[in-house]
């Protein structure tokens, strides 16, 4: 099993995304002490990935955590996620860098082996903070046709705000654990082709993760979509 390690070689990571080869283990250019790989995350090994049987989206681009105050009220979270650290609408790529203060943070392409994406695993393996942090996550869902009347359904630890194709569709606040279908959008349209999902997850302390899927009008996972990390 491939695992995400405490760092990636961006070029090789991109190569892995394209050709399915394993992500190479961490090279010795990072000064941080070595940690074991994230046990629940792998580097993507195929161009696209179908959701799991329950519809959960298992491929994401994750930005290394941004240090924030870690307050979780509605207003505090909204203020945190509305601060622009990078062009919001630009699609990141595996290995892209984002400057936050004097830090350089990297986007990582990951596949999760579970229904959820364990951000604690992700950050810990990278020797990054897991408390009082903001995670950005992006993915692209490719729909075979227009799919009206569907809902984005998420859970997160802790607060999170979600956008579909640039429109804010979910906000859940306060200290909370990830519960499947905790926050659910109003009925939305997945348009034929690529649809971009962005999430900002704010954690104050302890475990942190999220899960996401799309539901149909009967609250069942929609079928036929695939996940990719580009809009091509």
């Amino acid at each position: 099993m491939k695992t995400i390690h405490d760092a990636f070689l961006p070029a090789l990571g991109a190569l892995a995304l394209l050709c399915g080869s394993p992500v190479l283990p961490f090279a010795a250019q990072q000064p941080a002490p070595a940690r074991g790989p994230a046990p629940s995350l792998n580097g993507p090994a195929s161009p696209t990935k179908a959701p799991d049987a329950a519809g959960f989206l298992q491929r994401w681009l994750l930005l290394e955590p941004i240090k924030v105050a870690g307050q979780l009220t509605d207003s505090a979270v909204q203020a945190i996620v509305k601060k622009e650290y990078f062009p919001f609408t630009a699609m990141p790529h595996d290995g892209d860098k984002v400057s936050v203060g004097d830090e350089s943070l990297t986007w990582h392409a990951v596949d999760t082996i579970a229904y959820n994406v364990n951000l604690f695993h992700f950050a810990y393996a990278l020797n990054k903070p897991t408390s009082n942090v903001l995670f950005w996550a992006v993915t692209v869902v490719d729909a075979p046709r227009d799919m009206p009347g569907v809902r984005l359904a998420i859970g997160s630890n802790a607060a999170s705000v979600w956008w579909l194709n640039g429109q804010e569709v979910i906000g859940i606040y306060n200290d909370r654990q990830t519960v499947i279908d905790d926050g659910v959008s109003t009925r939305v349209m997945l348009k034929k082709g690529p649809n971009t999902i962005r999430a900002a997850i704010v954690n104050a302390g302890g475990a942190t993760d999220f899960c996401a899927r799309f539901l149909d009008a009967a609250d069942s996972p929609i079928k036929g979509i695939v996940v990719r990390l580009d809009k091509e």
Binding site: D181, D182, T186, R187
Partner: protein, 504 residues
């Protein structure tokens, strides 16, 4: 013990208070309610068998008398000969394309008969509206252990067979099988089966393999001094024996209490099942004395619940402040504003039970924290429309909903429509055109701000918008996720649309 008509009461017209049926529900010994052509009908004791009709099950109107549509305008001669000229306590059922209306025709009790009328429609405006006298079905001769009044009819859903119970205090409640084609006795030579004693107003219902015999015990017809109460036993055979929850046979006077006097209502009697489908069952009864209407006898419709294999009399929703909690998720409906902890931000106090209001370790008594109301925290609430969402219930003002009946807005069986507002404000829950929810800054009375609240058979509630713009079917408040309410078609097989109303 005999019963009598409340003819005087039947002519009283009172302005209905909010939590009894509206219009003209004054009646005694109501039949089972029956739906036809989008209307509800019920028939009762009185001269010519008074008929009542309602468009919605909430507002009722007198609609003449059954005997006006019977040739001769009175019970047939055979009925009068075997019973008498009175017309009491009818029951009605539809079988195929016919309606069978059974009624008591007592003479000098216990000499009495149950007569049958057969009709094709219940609508007095229809050209087909008429009732044919089909003669007596059962009778009592005044000496035998029977008083052949108070018919109750059951169509057995497992076999399609048709059954009639009847009787009143003098002797037994009896059971005979009917011919579904004619409504008359299938085996007229057979001896009726005794199934209960010391009761009247019997009727059977069927539920999950059991036949339930509901009867009325106690004294009627004495206004507030009436001890009427509805009791029941059950059997796995339609012919009994029927026993109560303590295994006392109903032939020995047993009967588990189903409904007694409560609130402002004295003496419930004459149970009737109203199955609205989708897991919504109600029952009708009359109260001997409705204290809110000067103590007269009135019809009521209430939720029917099931618990541990027995029916339970529910109560219609009353004005109050409630937490509206999802049975699916356990989270509570709230207006989507940032909550403020009740009492403000505080520590938990010292360990071991003592603690100061401001933090830890301050031993000694501390004052109680007052409840949070909207006036304390609404200063930062947006002035306009706000989303609705769900969250763990923490006794906060945006989670407390006032449920209040709305006058002159119509209703449904048992209740008027309600508005649902944040307690202490006029901010009203409303349905949107895209079948979602919003909390509007003020209640206007628009249909999408009116709510039907039915208690379901498991005791939870279904909350339905009176109208959702552009919706093709009625939509119910639904928990699509732990934090997300929406509107969706009600599904009885799911907890999505089941809600608990809890008093904060």
């Amino acid at each position: 013990m005999m019963k009598s008509c409340l003819a005087a009461a039947a002519i009283l017209l009172l302005v209905a208070p909010m939590f009894a049926l509206d219009g003209e529900p004054t009646m005694h010994d109501p039949s089972t309610l029956i739906q036809a052509g989008g209307k509800f009908y019920v028939y009762a004791t009185g001269n010519g068998l008074p008929a009542f009709v309602s468009d919605d099950g909430w507002t009722w109107h007198r609609a003449g008398s059954v005997m006006q549509a019977v040739p001769g305008g009175r019970p047939g001669p055979d009925v009068i000969a075997r019973g008498g000229n009175n017309t009491w306590a009818p029951d009605i059922i539809r079988v195929g394309d016919k309606y069978f209306l059974y009624y008591a025709a007592p003479g000098t009790q216990p000499k009495a008969a149950v007569g049958l009328l057969v009709g094709k429609t219940l609508d007095p405006a229809s050209a087909d509206y008429k009732w044919e006298d089909a003669g007596p079905v059962v009778s009592s001769d005044g000496v035998e252990d029977s008083n052949a009044i108070d018919p109750g009819v059951l169509r057995d859903p497992t076999t399609g067979t048709l059954w009639l119970t009847y009787g009143s205090y003098f002797g037994y409640i009896r059971l005979v099988e009917l011919d579904p084609k004619t409504g008359k006795r299938l085996h007229p030579e057979a001896k009726p089966i005794d199934i209960a004693i010391n009761s009247e107003a019997s009727v059977m219902i069927f539920h999950e393999g059991w036949y339930y015999l509901l009867v009325t015990h106690g004294a009627c017809c004495a206004g507030g001094n009436s001890s009427y109460n509805i009791r029941m036993g059950r059997s796995q055979k339609v012919t009994g024996p029927f026993v109560d929850n303590m295994s006392v046979g109903m032939l020995q006077g047993g009967g588990k209490l189903f409904a007694g006097s409560s609130g402002r209502h004295i003496g419930p009697g004459h149970f009737g099942l109203l199955d609205l489908g989708d897991g919504v069952q109600k029952f009708s009864c009359h109260y001997e004395s409705d204290l809110d209407r000067g103590g007269i006898s009135v019809l009521d419709i209430r939720p029917l619940l099931w618990r541990d294999g027995w029916p339970v009399a529910g109560d219609n929703v009353v004005t109050g402040t409630y937490e509206i909690e999802s049975a699916r998720t356990g989270t509570a409906l709230e207006m989507a504003v940032q909550g403020v902890p009740v009492g403000g931000a505080r520590g938990r106090g010292g360990r071991g039970g003592a603690g100061g209001a401001a933090g830890r370790g301050d031993a000694g008594l501390v004052p109680p924290v007052p409840p949070q109301d909207a006036a304390q925290v609404s200063g930062n609430w947006p002035a306009g429309a706000v989303d609705a969402r769900m969250a763990p219930y923490m006794l906060q003002a945006q989670q407390k909903w006032a449920i209040t009946p709305v006058a002159n807005a119509g209703g449904y069986p048992g209740s008027p429509y309600f508005k649902i507002t944040i307690a202490g404000t006029d901010r009203a829950l409303a349905a949107t055109a895209d079948a979602e929810l919003v909390v509007l800054p003020a209640f206007t009375g628009a249909p999408e701000q009116l709510w039907r609240i039915d208690q379901l058979t498991d005791g939870t509630y279904r909350v339905m918008a009176k109208a959702v713009p552009d919706a093709k079917a009625p939509l119910a408040l639904s928990a699509v996720g732990s934090s997300t309410p929406t509107l969706a078609v009600f599904r009885a097989d799911s907890d999505r649309q089941r809600w608990l109303l809890k008093t904060p």
